[in-house]
């Protein structure tokens, strides 16, 4: 493709998809949507965090392992 072809393709492209005119902003204030997005993400992050029962379950498992060490291989076998 030579320089002439390149210029011709640019012209055809601009006619097929003319540049957007004007400097219109969004049709609405986007800040409320931004706040909703931030709330949703922070909620999702919290739900992925450790809840109290995760800690309790871990403590129970550690305690079980300490008091009944012989049960560990059995547990591992069934995991």
């Amino acid at each position: 493709m030579n320089a002439h072809d390149e210029e011709r393709m640019k012209e055809v492209l601009r006619q097929a998809l003319p540049p957007l005119e004007g400097d219109d902003g969004p049709g609405r204030d986007l800040w409320p949507a931004m706040l909703r997005r931030m709330d949703a993400e922070s909620g999702a992050t919290q739900s992925h965090g450790w809840a109290w029962f995760d800690g309790a379950l871990l403590a129970a498992m550690v305690g079980f392992g300490v008091f009944f060490p012989a049960a560990i291989p059995v547990l591992l076998f069934y995991l």
Binding site: E6, V12, L13, R14, Q15, L17, P26, L30, E41
Partner: protein, 185 residues
Amino acid sequence: MQNEASNVLNQFRQGSPEVVEAAFETLFRQHQRSVYGWILRIVRNPAAAEDLTVEAFWRIHRARARFEPSHGFEGWARRIATRAALDWLRARHVESELTTEMLAEVAAPSGADPAVTAEIRLKTALAFGRLPPKLRITATLAVIEGEPQKDVAAALGISVAAVKVRVFRALRLLRKDLEREGITP
């Protein structure tokens, strides 16, 4: 005024959570229009541009620790917005969205070459939608919207030479695609 803007940028980067949120709202309100306008030029869909503006600002908020106030907010925000728009283009098949009816509504621009018929315009637009997103976004900004190549390069995080190469490849692929359809532009 300059000091105030600089303060907002510094507060946004490293302040207490309340200060960061206040600075973020200030920056959002100052820049949402320009970010939206930039994204709209790329995706050409007002509803998607609104969603992507929110997405871009969310990414900006998350990445604030990496923000360098001395380099200014506008260029950084534009770069993140461009990345969000590119992800959107990658996730969608534009050719399936561009219908004949939609394109028929786009009248030929004033002073248009009469040799470029409505059929050529339609097939060109459809072929353009089939280009790889990286080439499409570069050609959209540099050729269709006529943005300076250095601005396009900065927004895409590539060199000016790379912009020229991408534009050339986009036009060559477009021409080949049209030739396969029996159209010689």
